[in-house]
Subunit: 190 residues, 2 copies
C-alpha cells in the first residue's frame, strides 16, 4: 500500500506581515487564533480581509498566522479567474515577480506590490515521518487519491524537517477535481 | 510516449429536451449554432439559461445541442458549492436520482425534477482511434498531463465508436487543478 498522507485542503488565504496587518486592522492589534493548523505553531486567525483584483473582489479571505516577513495571498486558479489575476504558479514564499493587489480591512486598505500566487501543492513530513516514508526534503513524488474521481498529483514536493508534520496541502480546485475530502488519505507513489 | 488525447474543457452547461426548451424560449423556437464541438453533430448553442439552486444562481449557462430526450445540467463541484447542490458524480446520461433545479429562460421558467450532476471525465475515440491506442469501449485508463501541476486522472472511461472523436472531457475544476489548457495533449497510461 505504501506510506499515506492526509489531505489538508486550503481555501484561499492570506499570510501577512505585522506592518501590513496593522495598516488594515489598527496599530497594536494582534492576530487572534480561530483554530490551530496541522503545522506546528500555525493557526487560522479570526481576522479576514477583502482581496481586490482587476475583475472582482474575493470577500472575507481568512488570514493565517503567525505574522510573516512578507504578505502573501494564496488563491486557486478559479479564484484568479474570478478576481482577474494572472495565474502565477510557484512555491509558497517565493514572491518575486508575482502580481500585487489591494487588501481591504476594517481600519484601512493597502496596495501590496506583489504576493498573489497559486501555491504548488506539497507534502509536509517530520524528519521521522520522511524516514518512514523513504523520502527526503526536496524529493518530488506522486500522491494518489482513490474514489470515483481518483487522481494522482505528480511532481509533489516533499518538505521534511522538525517544523513539519504529515499533511498534504491541496487547494480547492485540486480537492474538487478529485472529490477529495479533508483528511482523506493519499498514498505516496515514487 | 504512448497515445495522446487533447483536453476538451467543458464549462458548466445544459443539455435540454425540446419540450423544456420551448417552455423557456417559446413554442417553435429552435436552438441556434454558436460553434461546433469536437463530437460529430454536437454544438454549443447561442441560447443560455439561468440555473437556480438552493443557495445561489448560476447565470447564463450555455445550452449544448442538439436536443436530448432528457434535460441535464452538468456542473463542476465548485459550481455545486456556489449554487448549493449536493455533489452527484456519475456518467453523463444517467439521471435517475440526481437533484433537480429551477431553470429560467427569456420566456418562462421550469422546475426539472432531476438532472443536475457532476459528469465523470471520459475520453471519446473513434473506432480507428481506439484501435490505434490499444483500448476499447468501456475500458478504464489513466490520462497523464504534464506541466508545473502535472496530474494523472485515474479511472477514465473510454467511449469508443463511430459517433466519437478523439477528445478528453474535463470540467473546470479538473482543468484548473492541473493548469491544463484547452487542447493540451494528455497521454494514455494503462
Amino acid at each position: 500500500m505504501g506510506y499515506t498522507v492526509p489531505a489538508g485542503i486550503s481555501n484561499r488565504h492570506v499570510h501577512i506581515s505585522k506592518e501590513d496587518f496593522e495598516a488594515l486592522f489598527g496599530e497594536g492589534v494582534e492576530l487572534t487564533n480561530f483554530k490551530d493548523l496541522s503545522q506546528p505553531g500555525q493557526f487560522a486567525a479570526n481576522e479576514k480581509v477583502d482581496v481586490v483584483g482587476p475583475r472582482g473582489t474575493l470577500a472575507a479571505v481568512r488570514i493565517l498566522g503567525p505574522f510573516r516577513p512578507e504578505t502573501q495571498v494564496e488563491l486557486c486558479e478559479t479564484d484568479c479567474f474570478i478576481a482577474g489575476f494572472p495565474v502565477d504558479i510557484r512555491e509558497s514564499g517565493k514572491l518575486d515577480g508575482t502580481p500585487g493587489c489591494k487588501l481591504v480591512g476594517p481600519k484601512g486598505e493597502i496596495e501590496i506590490p506583489q504576493g498573489v500566487m497559486v501555491a504548488l501543492r506539497h507534502v509536509h513530513l517530520s524528519t521521522a515521518q520522511a524516514e518512514e516514508a523513504g523520502v527526503k526534503d526536496g524529493d518530488l513524488v506522486g500522491i494518489k487519491f482513490g474514489g470515483p474521481k481518483a487522481v494522482t498529483f505528480e511532481n509533489v514536493l516533499i518538505r521534511a524537517g522538525e517544523k513539519h508534520f504529515r499533511d498534504m496541502h491541496l487547494d480547492i480546485d485540486e480537492a474538487n477535481a478529485g472529490h477529495i475530502a479533508n483528511g482523506q488519505e493519499g498514498v505516496i507513489v515514487k
